[in-house]
Symmetry: D5
Subunit: 124 residues, 10 copies
């Protein structure tokens, strides 16, 4: 996706130590391309930074651009993953989107970039 | 099972990246073949798509066909698993059905197709 | 509504003392008359009996008759209220139906027959 | 009911001040007189004592006598209420029994003896 | 507010009996007129109908019109209240909006039309 | 009870306005006078002060004196109520003790001094 | 208290209808005047506006002034109540502060200005 | 243990695919052999079937036989495990019993038969 | 620690099968050696027995001996671990103590004896 | 960071046995270096001690020094990790900070020092 509002980054203050950063977005909304109806989701973004970290305000503004876009659950999750990877080149990044109930069914999409080394990654 | 209403699919928008799709069905009901009484369950379907994904509305309609069918917990879970695998040939699919209390006992059936490679599968 | 399966009653074992009986039905389902799609609800029935009490198994079978009936939330709640009042003539009866999410909205309908005397009714 | 094991009491240590005593019994079980199957309930007994209070161990033993008795929800709740009132003559007593799910329905029965004066009773 | 999409109604199926209808909207969003940032809320609408009831789909579409409107919490709650009262003339209507956290503070606005008679209104 | 450690007070900083002060004590323990076994409770003390308020540290030390005292649930609740009333002469005071499970039963004792005027007391 | 940062207000957009506005402050902190240690609380402010409403950002900044002030629970709750009443002259205002555990005890202080007319106030 | 009521089985409808069946028994009760007092537990039985599955009604009746038997927590859990293994020869079976509080302590016993192959077993 | 009250054991009824026994102690209290103030904790003891099991009543009495002992969190957890290992020689034993909030901080100490073989140990 | 208040330690009472110590700090607050607004977090510190353990009161005072410091989420988590490692040289230490919602997003940062040997570390 070509987004007008870019994701900004700042230098990772502790680049030598791999550690996990998690941002949970409680207020994501987009549009269903089929019905034109709004969709609502919670996004959980977790990553191990390379040289740079996501700047939170630009993340918020970047995600607000989907407010009037029509795009499917599976697609949007991978698109945001790709945009985040391009913006800051993390060593590992996982995104999980949890969608509101539609027709008695709710959906959760989970995708990731890179493979966290279970030996070097902090355990939760 | 021969179902009149087929499960429809759409092309996986990101086929090169294995990622997990989860649909939680809150409103499943079928009939007990022994007593003729209704049964109620929550279904959790999780899969890594191959070339195609489940279309949600057809999934809903497919599952509604069980509303008047008499079938046991263990059987129905495996039948839905087989139907989903046939419809879209996923690289991995897991289904879990959680049933309402009967006689002070509630039941949970979990079956899967394929073996998710723990190295390539996103961790939850 | 003319129901083939009648609600049966048994004599109130303690008719001289007003007390509250509550039945919470976790597995109610009917059909939407507009879309033909299934609806799901939890029903809470509370009453102060007159001479007779609801027999539980017949209540279950009576409510199962709605499984294939098309009827709106507001209507069905009042219809069940009327049928229960006709069947056992309680001094007070309240029914509350809580419906599954549709289009991001869930609904709760509450109706009652008679006016519980706040002085004679057990407080909860 | 004629119970072999009587409910014992001890003198109310503060008879001049009306105050509320509540005992919540987590492990009550009796038998269904119709099916012969066990029933399980939680009992909540609340009262304002007159001259005497319930001795807890005798309450436990008294309630264990229902373990092999066949008796309906509505009846048993009123029987225990009567037995407690006879044993210790409280100025107010309320009993609430909450029963396990049967056929997708759970039940709550609430009965009381006397009328607590809302002006003299501690508010909860 | 002049809304292009009107709230539709249908005839109250039981107009002689006052009963409570509640719709809980989980997915409401509008814009902050000061910052231009999106706001998110849950709305709870409860009413006793006069001759007509709210049609749910038109309620959903009516509320979606606020998606791109800039309006304050206190104002929007009263505006929706006014629009609902105008549309269907209920004997009583209460609306409560619960807003997401902003600056470590979340807000709840509650307004109502008419005065429910505590004697004729079903108690919850 | 004659307690060596007295409850200290400090002057009510806003004596002209009746308002409610609540202290919830999570770590109360005493001894059962019958079995010699320890008892554990949570205490909730709520009051409208007269001229003086309870000093929290002295309350903690006062309550620790029960650590090795043998005393029944009903009695201890009233004794603490009396001691608090004597110490600071509140216009209203309520105490509620919630005790750990013994023999499958847990107990709650609620006593109060004075009658809060429902018109002048803040509603919760 | 003389505060450098004043609470700002804006005109009540619906002054003819009494309705309840509630702000829940999740991140309040002050200092204990006795020990010099930080205290933490959640504040719940509920009011029926007169001609003006609290502006949220100024409320946040006003409350941050207590970050380095030493003041007791009971006092601070009443001081904030007085400051809010002075700033916007509401017809009714209630404040409740819930404090973190200290010495195994947590506290809740509730104070209010004015007397809400239970007939004109929306019921919750 | 020699039980009069045998556990019945039915043929595994999908014997070629290893899948997990779980039954959670909410209403188990037995007797303490030392004190003669009733014990209460929740049982969780999970297994991968061989050629046969547990028939639910016979499981319920089998477990009711412990209602008047005196037997310790550790022993009963292993006895039921042995009886289930003998009845249906599963490839893996795990049983967990969670017991009510006695003397401020609650207990959980977990035993299993066979070793589930982590590669062939569905992951939860 | 030299304890006057010894931990008693009884023979493991199923010594050939490794299984997990867990006791959760809800009512543990000791003294802080620095301040002399009481401490409160929940203890979770889990073990795989060798030839003998912990007798529950003697465990309760053993733990009550800490009621008036001054000892730090880290020390007491290891002391109880040592005493239990000495008393019954388990093949594996883990103890976890969860302590009440002090100064806005709560603590959890976890220690174990032996190394459970993940292949022979029941999985939870 | 050069902190005036040092973290104090005391000798590990059981240095030969690796065990986990966890401190959960419920009341951490610092300042945002960008906006000057306060930030609030919960910190979870878990470690396996070497020769010395963290003294709790000095930990509390050390953390209070951040009350008026402006520092980012990612930085502060690593700074505290470094300070703790320097102070007591643990064999393993993990810190997790969970921050309040800002702009509809909350964040969790997790960093660790050393690599816990999964075979020697107590499992949770």
């Amino acid at each position: 996706m070509k987004n007008d509002m870019l994701i900004e980054t700042f230098p990772n203050p502790h680049p030598l130590r791999p550690y996990i950063i998690e941002h949970v977005v409680h207020e994501f909304t987009s549009m269903c391309p089929k019905t034109g109806q709004p969709d609502f989701a919670q996004l959980r973004i977790r990553y191990i930074a390379g040289d740079s970290c996501i700047e939170l305000k630009s993340l918020k503004l970047y995600l607000q651009q989907f407010r009037s876009k029509g795009i499917f659950y599976e697609d949007i999750t991978n698109v945001i993953l790709d945009d985040l990877v391009t913006s800051m080149n993390p060593s590992w990044l996982q995104i999980q989107s949890t969608w509101s109930v539609r027709g008695g069914i709710h959906s959760v999409i989970t995708a990731q970039h890179g493979q966290a080394d279970p030996l070097s990654e902090p355990r939760l």
